[in-house]
């Protein structure tokens, strides 16, 4: 009913309840978590059924046991790939949310992040600090550095290459983005080659510790094998989750987040509320770029060696993930990334196992994964979450 007491209702109106706070920050993550479990269960179930069905045809190995043995590792791999695509996809989806524009240079923002890490580690190494630095401190410093550089870079690109084209036909900024992407690749190659970092840049880290053994999994004849997660994957997953929590807080709770959502939903109306639309768009690029940069750092750290073209494929796949989840939808980008990551990890690992190595999974993973994606999009053209879920930017 109407507001009665002046003082009593103050609290009701201004303070959101702790419950709604938790649901707005962690609700989307819970959804992501459900998709993680769901992907693991569904894909795990499929490979186990396939293994059972094909078991009789194989005499060389026990297919079922082989399938079970690698399953935990495949799931961890799926998680890492999933979070990689998710963090990059957020950059695509947020920018699309406010501008309805695909920032095709985002893969290169990610690549620059990875190179920032490589430069950072090379600088530390040359001053002899790399081995003495605490690994946690190293990870934190590298991630923040990558976020800062990539974020500012993305913001500058928007200012220079996209904003002047805001009123132009839709294809024009798209071409500008492709141009920016090529420029970034070649400029980074030039810098890397001329600074002694090299085309194939090493991303060295302090000793990040031993793999963490999570459990012992029993297999036949009382033998067990350890289920472990290597430290780099663990760092990747932990940092990605922290960033996703931070992003959900930023977008769903803060005033800036409300402004971003308002601009995404109705740009002229947002400007009539006193929101500086250009600034909000710039900040959106900053946030998306920072997430991409952090993903680049984590990626470089995990693979150990990078080159100026490493942004292309992850960028393309993250874009796919964003479309899969429903472009413009933040939770969708995370979910799309997870689903794509799991699909890839499962196909890459099990295709060669099931075909006796005739199809080496790694090289066919994309075909199978993308075929499944196309199927999903045929049946759900607006993406997995699309318009159904309301947490669009």
């Amino acid at each position: 009913m109407a507001v009665e007491a002046t003082t009593g209702s103050d609290l009701v109106i201004t303070r959101r309840s702790f419950r709604s706070f938790m649901s707005e920050v962690f609700g989307p993550l819970l959804q992501v978590f459900l998709f993680v479990i769901g992907s693991a269960v569904v894909l795990g179930g499929i490979v186990l059924l396939l293994a059972l069905a094909l078991r009789g045809a194989r005499t060389d190995i026990d297919l079922l046991q082989g399938t079970i043995t690698i399953l935990p590792q495949v799931i961890i791999d799926g998680l890492v790939r999933g979070f990689l695509y998710a963090t990059i996809a957020l950059g695509y989806t947020m920018v699309y949310g406010v501008l309805e524009f695909i920032n095709f240079a985002h893969g290169e923002i990610f690549m620059v992040g990875a190179f920032v890490g490589a430069f950072f580690s090379a600088a530390l190494a040359s001053s002899g600090m790399l081995t003495t630095l605490s690994p946690i401190l190293f990870v934190i410093a590298a991630v923040f550095l990558g976020m800062a550089v990539s974020g500012l870079l993305a913001m500058s690109i928007e200012r220079v290459a996209y904003r002047p084209l805001r009123g132009a036909p839709r294809l024009v900024p798209l071409i500008s983005a492709i141009g920016v992407s090529l420029v970034l690749q070649d400029v980074m190659r030039m810098i890397a080659v001329n600074t002694g970092l090299g085309f194939n840049a090493q991303f060295r880290t302090p000793d990040l510790g031993q793999p963490l053994v999570l459990a012992q999994m029993p297999i036949a004849d009382d033998r067990t094998i350890p289920v472990s997660i290597d430290s780099r994957s663990l760092i990747f997953i932990v940092v990605a989750i922290i960033m996703l929590i931070g992003l959900n807080y930023l977008v769903n709770i803060t005033k800036l987040g409300k402004a971003i959502r308002a601009v995404a939903q109705d740009r002229p109306a947002a400007s009539l509320m006193g929101i500086d639309v250009n600034r909000v768009i710039a900040v959106t690029f900053l946030i998306g770029g920072a997430l991409g940069g952090a993903a680049g750092i984590l990626f470089g750290m995990r693979v150990g060696s990078i080159n100026p073209y490493v942004g292309f494929l992850p960028g393309l796949k993250a874009f796919t993930a964003a479309v899969l989840g429903g472009i413009g939808n933040i939770t969708g980008a995370m979910v799309g990334g997870i689903v794509l990551g799991f699909l890839e990890a499962f196909v890459a690992s099990y295709l060669s196992l099931f075909t006796r190595g005739q199809f080496s999974g790694a090289s066919y993973a994309d075909i199978v994964a993308f075929s499944i994606l196309i199927l999903i999009l045929i049946f759900r053209p607006s993406g997995l979450l699309g318009e159904v879920v309301t947490q669009k930017v």
Binding site: M1, A2, V3, T6, S9, D10, I13, T14, R16, S20, K255, K258, A259, R261, A262, Q265, D266, P268, A269, A270, S271, L272, M273, G274, I275, D276, V277, T390, Q391, K392
Partner: protein, 314 residues
């Protein structure tokens, strides 16, 4: 809300920065004060136009003195909002062909006209969503036509746009919070939100519902409430009655009257001329981008052309 009315006394030729003393109280002009022609409201007195200087900002009285009205006789400020010969285009379409109008502090002024006359274009031009190709838009005597929309909102010119333009995926509460985007005074924002709920109790019942799920009437209430959250010095309303049931239209108009009575100046755009002229003080009639009539609301209601074309009489 709104400004105090200061009745001040002084001589001609005062400009921004001038200071002086009236009845022992010190004052300084922080905005230019210009002389008005005899058409302005107010009585003739000793050959000079007597009137009111609206607005605390225009006349700042030293803190030490008691801010009670002081009497000035020959001075007015300029209107709160003024358009001078404004031409606005959409590409090559000449939508506004030299609009001039003014809104005084405390008034409800209505802009009536049929579909496509240029009413919304006028409001969009005032809010800075469109830039006039020629002419001036002045707010408290300062040109605002070159400013981006958010700067114009910052000055207190706030629009509730045509078609409501509620943020569909923000909750009612969030929509209202976005309306107060430029403000940081939490306690005052809470008080204003309460005031909105007093005007529109329905919104309080829908507090955590998403804007897009509200009915048309509720969305209109939210659009007006959201604009009020910005503490408008002048509130621009674009067809608040559009698409609403007659009962609701009456309710909305009576609330618009209340908002004005509480001190907010309003420029009301309407196709529903009957209702608009019933609550407005003055009105302008717009036809294909030009103002064809300007008068008090009462006079417009009696006008044959208005009766024939907009009130369905005669």
């Amino acid at each position: 809300m709104g400004w105090n009315r200061w009745e001040v006394d002084g001589e001609c030729g005062k400009v921004k920065g001038d200071r002086g003393r009236v009845e022992g109280r010190r004052w300084r002009l922080v905005a230019p004060v210009c002389r008005r022609d005899a058409r302005a409201p107010g009585e003739q007195k000793g050959g000079l136009v007597a009137g009111k200087l609206w607005g605390l900002k225009a006349l700042r009285i030293s803190r030490r003195s008691n801010p009670s009205p002081i009497v000035l006789s020959s001075w007015f400020s300029m209107p709160l909002l003024e358009l001078k010969n404004v031409h606005t285009y959409y590409g090559s379409i000449h939508a506004l062909k030299g609009i001039s109008l003014s809104v005084e502090e405390g008034e409800i002024v209505t802009l009536i006209g049929s579909n496509g006359a240029g009413k919304s274009t006028t409001l969009r031009t005032i809010s800075g969503l469109l830039k006039p190709r020629q002419g001036e838009v002045l707010f408290r005597g300062e040109r605002i036509d070159h400013l981006p929309p958010h700067k114009i909102v910052e000055m207190g010119v706030i629009q509730s746009p045509e078609g409501r333009r509620i943020f569909p995926r923000l909750t009612v509460r969030e929509n209202l919070e976005v309306g107060a985007f430029l403000r940081n005074d939490k306690a005052e924002i809470a008080r204003d939100m309460e005031r909105v709920f007093h005007l529109f109790p329905r919104l309080y019942e829908r507090l955590n519902q998403r804007g897009g799920t509200l009915s048309g009437g509720e969305q209109q209430m939210l659009a007006i409430g959201r604009a009020l959250m910005g503490r408008p010095r002048v509130l621009l309303l674009d067809e608040p009655s559009m698409g609403l049931a007659p009962v609701l239209v009456e309710q909305i108009f009576s609330i618009i009257g209340d908002i004005n009575a509480q001190g907010t100046t309003i420029l009301l755009v309407e196709q529903n001329a009957l209702m608009a002229l019933a609550i407005a003080h003055r009105g302008y009639v717009l036809q294909t981008g030009e103002i064809v009539l300007a008068d008090t609301a009462n006079a417009l209601r009696e006008n044959k052309l208005v009766q024939h074309a907009y009130l369905g009489i005669g």
